[in-house]
């Protein structure tokens, strides 16, 4: 993305550095993303290499974060786990935003019965507690990373539909949309050319706020045994696998837990900073 394009999608970015906290979040997230990308090169050990005889070594020289119950290096698993968690978050957000924003824009621009129908459908999905629907779906689709992505996306899109709907509905009443209609521009073109770009900012903010939430739900699903599974490295799974070791071998549970906290924290802080910078009037959901 060139600088110009960035400014186009993120308008009115104030000149002063938004917020120190948000900057901390951005740096933290960048580090995590980098760590995930570079995992094969920076991880001290190969991925998923159990050494039962070296199981549960406490943190120390050869294993900074210790080893888990089958003798894998916890740090290595954490680094590879970051890939899974970030992949899940990115896919869920991409999927649900695509579906949600499309439906939301249509509903918001068209209004009338179409909007009512779409909104009632989102109501139904919203009434379904995200984790529970994801649980049910995971039971249907068999556990796995794809399932987690599908399951969470299914529960997540209504938020974007709602958000996009309300923003699009207000954009649709803007004089420039009316003007475009008066010029005879076809409705789909208006939606794509005028409504979509002008509705994107709050969606982008919400996306960055939600990344943390998705990581948490994905971890909870894995923790319940309905998400990623062995031998995939995933943080929630690591907590689940090690949860009974909290009292005896704290490092197996503590580090993945901290990784989740830090990543979610980074996303949340960054998202909040973005929101403050971009549209201070929207309230958190």
């Amino acid at each position: 993305m060139s600088g110009g394009e960035l400014r186009r999608t993120l308008p009115r970015l104030p000149a002063r550095p938004t917020d120190r906290l948000a900057a901390v979040g951005a740096v933290l997230l960048a580090v995590i993303v980098l760590a995930a990308l570079l995992a094969p090169w920076i991880a001290p050990y190969p991925d998923n290499q159990p050494q039962p005889l070296r199981a549960l070594l406490p943190p120390g020289g050869a294993h900074w974060f210790g080893t888990d119950q089958v003798g894998r290096d916890v740090l290595t698993q954490l680094l590879y786990g970051a890939r899974t968690s970030l992949l899940i978050a990115a896919s869920v957000l991409a999927l649900s935003a695509t579906v949600g924003v499309t439906l939301g824009l249509v509903a918001g621009y068209a209004g009338g019965w179409l909007r009512d129908v779409i909104m009632r459908i989102t109501d139904v999905f919203l009434a379904f507690p995200a984790l529970l629907l994801a649980l049910a779906l995971a039971a249907v689709l068999q556990p796995g990373v794809t399932t987690v992505i599908m399951a969470i996306a299914v529960t997540w899109w209504p938020w974007y539909a709602r958000l996009a709907m309300s923003v699009a509905a207000s954009v649709a009443t803007r004089p420039y949309v009316d003007a475009a209609r008066c010029l005879g521009v076809p409705a789909p073109v208006i939606v794509v050319r005028h409504v979509l770009p002008n509705s994107l900012t709050p969606v982008l903010v919400q996306l960055s706020l939600d990344a943390g939430g998705v990581i948490l739900v994905a971890a909870a699903l894995s923790y319940l045994g309905l998400g990623a599974h062995e031998p995939t490295a995933e943080w929630g799974l690591m907590v689940e696998a090690g949860q009974t070791l909290f009292t005896t071998n704290w490092w197996v549970v503590t580090f993945p837990g901290l990784a989740i906290v830090l990543t979610a924290f980074a996303c949340n802080v960054l998202g909040e900073g973005l929101r403050n910078a971009l549209d201070p009037r929207r309230t958190v959901r």
């Binding site: 139904v124 529970l132 649980l135 249907v140 948490l216 837990g257």
Partner: protein
């Protein structure tokens, strides 16, 4: 107002109908035969067939859906494959405990989140604010299951300040048995003046409620802060300042009430969310609630029970939303017009 209420109720009913259909569809999609779940792992083909007939699994799908809806409406939510009791009875037994936990957590969350949010807004951009923002962000970023394990290990196991698990001391069942009215232990203990059970339950409630409260307290604090800051950017706050009111007074007497509105609608959302979070926490603290029931149901692929839990939570969500909508009318006069 009456018309509005009717419309709102109609919408709620529509949503519930949608949830029922969706639940049904999902339950049909679950692989593996529910009959197998009922008849046991070593069942013979004949036993499976009998179980299948018993649950009407051989009927065509539309007939099944129709029967399902009809049964739900008449209060027959099916029989749990796992406990082999009517799901409604099971839910009536376990739901109050969850309600107790989530209710306590939300009370905690509001009691902590709102003042913390006010504090942050009052000292915007100064140390308390930064502290509150970091703290609340952390609170919403912590996986509950992890927090539950950590608090249990530290405060119950190592320090021994709180009980490890359970709803109240088991011995109290004999020394001062509780008469049940609502099935919500705290409430029943209050009604019947059963102090030993009340104090014991409250003591047991502290840790799990804290864990469940972490997320809502975090968002409530954030939202209160954001809403207050937004309010204090509004023209009317300037007028209040121009009238000579002090900052604290402006926040608590004028801005807070307006800010409470988004907080209220948030509570409906976090209520449902916390309900599900409670699922994860209940297992750790051995809280005899919906979560444990749901976990068992999911593990044993107990279709009617899963459906029951899902429906119940969805209905609770719808009701909570309804209640919040009505409450908002009380808090914010502008909402009444709509």
């Amino acid at each position: 107002m009456a018309g509005y209420l009717a419309r709102r109720l109609g919408q709620a009913l529509l949503v519930v109908a949608g949830v029922i259909t969706l639940t049904f569809v999902i339950m049909r999609l679950v692989p593996g035969d529910p009959a197998v779940a009922f008849a046991g792992p070593k069942a013979s083909e004949a036993e499976l067939a009998a179980a299948r007939a018993r649950f009407g699994l051989d009927d065509p799908i539309p007939v099944q859906l129709w029967n399902y809806v009809r049964d739900l409406v008449t209060g027959d939510w099916g029989t749990s494959l796992h406990t082999r009791r009517p799901v409604v009875e099971d839910l009536a037994l376990v739901f109050p405990a969850s309600l107790e936990l989530v209710g306590a957590a939300l009370v905690l969350a509001v009691a902590a989140g709102v003042p913390i949010g006010v504090l942050a807004a009052r000292f915007k951009r100064r140390l308390p604010d930064v502290g509150v923002r970091v703290g609340s962000m952390l609170a919403v970023s912590v996986p509950v299951f992890w927090l539950a394990l950590a608090l249990q290990t530290v405060f119950a196991s190592n320090l021994g300040w709180f009980p490890v698990a359970g709803e109240y001391d088991g011995e109290l069942d004999t020394t001062s048995p509780l008469t049940l009215w609502t099935n919500i232990t705290v409430v029943d203990a209050l009604i019947t003046g059963n102090w030993p059970i009340l104090t014991s339950t409250l003591h047991h409630l502290v840790l799990p409620a804290l864990v469940v409260a972490a997320y809502p307290a975090g968002v409530i604090a954030q939202l209160t802060r954001a809403a207050l800051i937004e309010e204090s950017g509004q023209d009317h706050t300037r007028l209040e300042r121009a009238l000579g009111f002090s900052e604290s007074r402006i926040l608590t007497r004028f801005a807070l009430r307006a800010a409470l509105n988004p907080v209220l609608s948030l509570i409906a959302l976090v209520f449902a969310y916390s309900m599900v979070n409670a699922f994860l926490v209940e297992a750790v603290f051995n809280w005899p609630g919906l979560g444990r029931y749901a976990a068992d149901a999911i593990r044993s692929l107990d279709t009617p029970a899963i459906a029951g839990v899902t429906l119940l939570v969805a209905i609770v969500y719808v009701l909570a939303n309804l209640a919040v909508d009505l409450l908002q009318g009380v808090v914010d006069p502008r909402a009444r017009a709509g």
